[in-house]
Amino acid sequence: MMGIEAITGRYVTVEVEGRALRIYFEEAGQGRPVLCLHTAGADTRQWRHLMNDAEVTAANRLIAFDMPWHGKSLPPEGFQTEEYLLTTEAYIETILAVIDALGLERPVLAGCSMGGRIALQLAALHPGRFSGFIAIEASDFQPAWYDIDWFHRPDAHGGEMGAALVSANISPHAPDVERWNTLWMFMASGPGVFRGDLSFYTKDDSLIGRLGRIDTAKTPVHIIVGAYDLTCTPEDAQRTADAIPGATLAVMDELGHFPMSEHPEGFRPFFIEALAKMPAGKARAEAAA
């Protein structure tokens, strides 16, 4: 597609854990706010296809931001002597700080992989800040079958190794161009960032005991999972959905772990279906009143 896209990008500085963080965010569309979270080791570019989808953005304002250390968001001051290890607490604080800074009123939260995991944490811990949750390739907990230290070492390129590893999660139905655009983000991520994300994703199992407290009557939860996802399998997603009373689940037979990025056309109908399950603008306003 030639020409200028509808997506616009800006920066916002927020405070998380007492430190200033310069965050890059993008948005497109108007209407109901939908905050989109990228996966581990990647950035906002994963959402660009949906943000360029006129049918989606006609009534939805899609906003995505790069987590600190990712994409065009900087790491915090002093990072050069710091070991990046994402925690549930910092992740939640960052998301809530971005929502406050952008003045978003009860957005729908759509997150993929670790973004889906934190979406479910927020559904349990801060439901009043959101109107609903779309948890993509999301599950209660995934222990690592690999050594996360592989991806940050002085004698090898962590990004290239990380990309080669996560290629296991991309569906063979994905168009080649989008497979490689998806992997490029992993190849280009900062040193130790994928490892630090995986630390959160593969070591923090605190969500398991919280799933039962999610009230889907107030904030719906819809989980979407791809059959070619080796990390969060349909069985993992089903187990998670079963633990959340009222949660719904859709299985995508031809997609993998990065559906919005690896195979935009294949994912599109599932995302539109998910949006339809979320409260509309008017209902959100009434629920908030």
Partner: protein, 126 residues
């Protein structure tokens, strides 16, 4: 299997981007299929030798152990879920990685694309 490996060898050695990715890869890899051993000797990314086993005296850096049925599905243009990646085979219990796994991970893209060459050839033939 030996014919298949010979075709993979010819294809690898004629694929510039794989030779570039594998330019530092000088190792012997054991591929075991239904218990039949094949020692694959790579030199600067080129597959220089395919030596059938069994052998108890051939050192290897890492090994991939699997079965012919799983490999046949892995090599289809569009494999079933789980069969689409070497680590999928491992996760399903249809494959095992042994030896120096870090050496495999450092050269993961190279080795995965080498192992998937028959899939590329099947796509071209379709």
């Amino acid at each position: 299997m030996i014919d298949q490996l010979a075709m993979m060898q010819a294809r690898l050695n004629a694929t510039p981007h794989l030779l570039r990715l594998g330019r530092l890869f000088c190792e012997t890899v054991l591929l075991s299929v239904d218990g039949d051993e094949y020692y694959l000797t790579f030199e600067k990314g080129r597959l220089e030798a395919i030596t059938p086993g069994p052998s108890r005296k051939t050192p290897y850096r890492f090994a991939l152990l699997t079965d012919a049925e799983a490999l046949a599905e892995f090599w289809r243009p569009v494999p079933k879920p789980g069969f689409h990646d070497l680590f999928g085979l491992v996760k399903m219990g249809r494959g095992q990685v042994a030896g120096d796994i870090l050496s495999l991970v450092k050269n993961l893209r190279f080795f995965k694309e080498f192992m998937a060459l028959p899939r590329e050839m099947a796509k071209e033939a379709a």
